[in-house]
Amino acid sequence: MKNRFFENLSAGSFSILLHVALFALVVSGMDFQSKQYIAEQPKVDIVQATVMDEADILEEMTRQQEIEDKKRQQELDRQAEIDNKLQETEQELEQKKQEMLEQQRQAELEQQQRELEAQQKQQEIEALEQQRKLEEQKKLKIEQERKLEEERKIKAEQERIAEEERKQIIAEQRKIEEEKKRLAEADRKAEEARKLEAEKARKAEEKRLAKIAEEKKKAEVKAEQERIAKEKRLAEEKARKAAEQAKRDEAARLLQESLDAEARDREDKRIKGLVNKYSSFVERRVKRYWLKPPSAEKGLECTLQVSLFPGGEVKGVKVIKSSGNAVFDRSAETAVYKASPLPVPTDPKAAAEFKQFTFTFRPE
């Protein structure tokens, strides 16, 4: 590239020089040309006419002819000059051309040399590269072998660990089994202990009962002894027996009464249960029929007293506590009426609760 640049530069500067030279020529030629132009333009001369001899005229003519010849010669000379100059420039051109060719050749030679050198260097580099690659390959092999070794070691480790784990699991399983055996043992022992306990309790009971029996016997013996000892107190003893009888009767009666009370309690609960159940039926039904006014604010509360006929028909509704809002109160009353007849239990005791009762109505 550099060579070409210099080529262009020299060529360019050369051409510039040439053009300048040519321009100079042209300019100088121009003057020559303009003169010629004017010379050829038809002139409108104001000629002063004078009479002249033929000889004078011939003289004039020859003079003029000479002048013109001179001029022509001058012109030819100039043309020759130009030709010379052209030749010179041509020669210069040739020279330059030659010089350039020389330069080119030299440059080419240099290039070839450089290329050779480059090639040599390349070869050297490639040789080095090959060496390096061989060395790397050797290294890789060594690495690979090392890795394989490591892996073998790891596998050996893993197997060792797996073995140990297996041993642990076996050990644990054994432990679990032993535990189970221990628990079973413990259970058996507990059972045995319980059986022993039960036995003991039974024996204790028997002993107690035996003791009571013994004591009873002792008492009876004492009583008999007393009777035998004191015949005079037969009447008192009979009286005592009668008294005891009376006591026993009393106790029996009390027992019966408490049993009755329990029965009544149960009955109460049953009735309460019924009342609750039907209360919720009634509540649901009345609620369903209750259209509360949308303007009902929270906090309003109205209480109605309602009396029913035995079948559940509404007998009467009375506001016993107003909410303060007549429309709200009326909506509650209407709800009760609309829900009539209310569901009431058939059991007469429960139904009695529904003869007269209270509703409280709240919007929230």
Binding site: L254, E257, R264, R288, W290, E333, K338, T360
Partner: protein
Amino acid sequence: MTQKWLKIAASIAVLLSWQAQAELVIDIVGGSEAALPIAIVPFGNQGPTAPVNISEIITNDLASSGRFDPLPKRDLISDPHEKADINFKDWRLLRSEGLLVGKVSTEDGELHKVQFQLFDVYKAQQLAGMRYQVPAGGLRRLAHQISDQVYQALTGEIGVFSTRLAFVTVVKNSDGTKRFALQVSDADGANPRTVLQSKQPILSPSWAPDGERLSYVSFENGKPEIFIQEMRSGRRSSVAAFKGINSAPSWSPDGSKLALTLSKAGNPEIYVLDIASGKLSRVTHNSQAIDTEAVWMPNGKELLFTSDRGGRPQIYKVSVDGGRAQRLTFEGSYNSSPDISPDGRTMAMVHGFKGKFYIAVQDLQTGILQVLTETGRDESPSFAPNGRTILYATEHRGKALLAAVSVDGSIHRRLGESGTDVREPAWSPLRK
């Protein structure tokens, strides 16, 4: 001996436990909020048929409130017109809670005698009853008044069936120009009458508390100006035609002042105009912000208004005398067009969320906001004078129309789909 005492003690105990059972008490908590079933029997007619079907109007009124469930005509088992005709047992079978009967008689063709009676079916008691004498032209209004009485007797709240609505309609002419009209109708949308007609837009009608005058914004002179117009006579006067915009008029609870928005000072601010004297006093002084849409609190001392002083429109409260404004809305990026319930506790507004606009209410004590509508193209909320319903403008299938929603959001209805575009509703006060 002790055994005897034991016996006595035991029996006494049993007796006591028996008596300790007090009267049964059942608690009812909850209840349903369904519409109240009511039977409305067509009024009996004596003489030529009255020009207005009173019971029909009453049935529609009560049904549209969402609070009543009138029995279908075919289910009416009998045709009573007064108490003597009624067998309450029959009506109880139908599970109807209320029963309305009545009579209309036309004797001389001019005056109509009307009477109604409302009964509690279950208690068989009369809850309300009245007798009237009205000319034919007053029959429709009378029907709405009866609806009010029935509504109040059965719900405990004031009815608004005799009130009126004001709104703006827009009709496109065949040549592409538009015709604007300010109209007033009955609360059910019937009987609309035009109060003002213009080729230029009309905005923001506001009712005076006496129901006799309307204030509104008109563009008839090429820019927004505020007028007051007497409904009966049609007489009107311009009350604000200052440089800039004159808009958003709102009548004070005592009817003597108008809150309005003027930009004559360079940007929109809230002013209060004393109508009689014409004196203006300025309330807001924020030269960077748009302050508009002022409405009065029922105590007449404070104003709610829309301001973008915080960047985007939000609602603020300020004393009528001016001073620092307190911001009220904090949810959503756009809150505007406030209106306040008659008890001063609930504020209705337009709530912008993700590019859509809904009607919402906010409890002024708790600050809790509840969105009531769904179309996302809702504006101009206006409270009914019983605070139960909010009227607003919306769009359905490309047409602008009015709709109403109950303040708890449970009942929705659309008002008539006549074909003309309707907007800017304002609910009148109760008739005095």
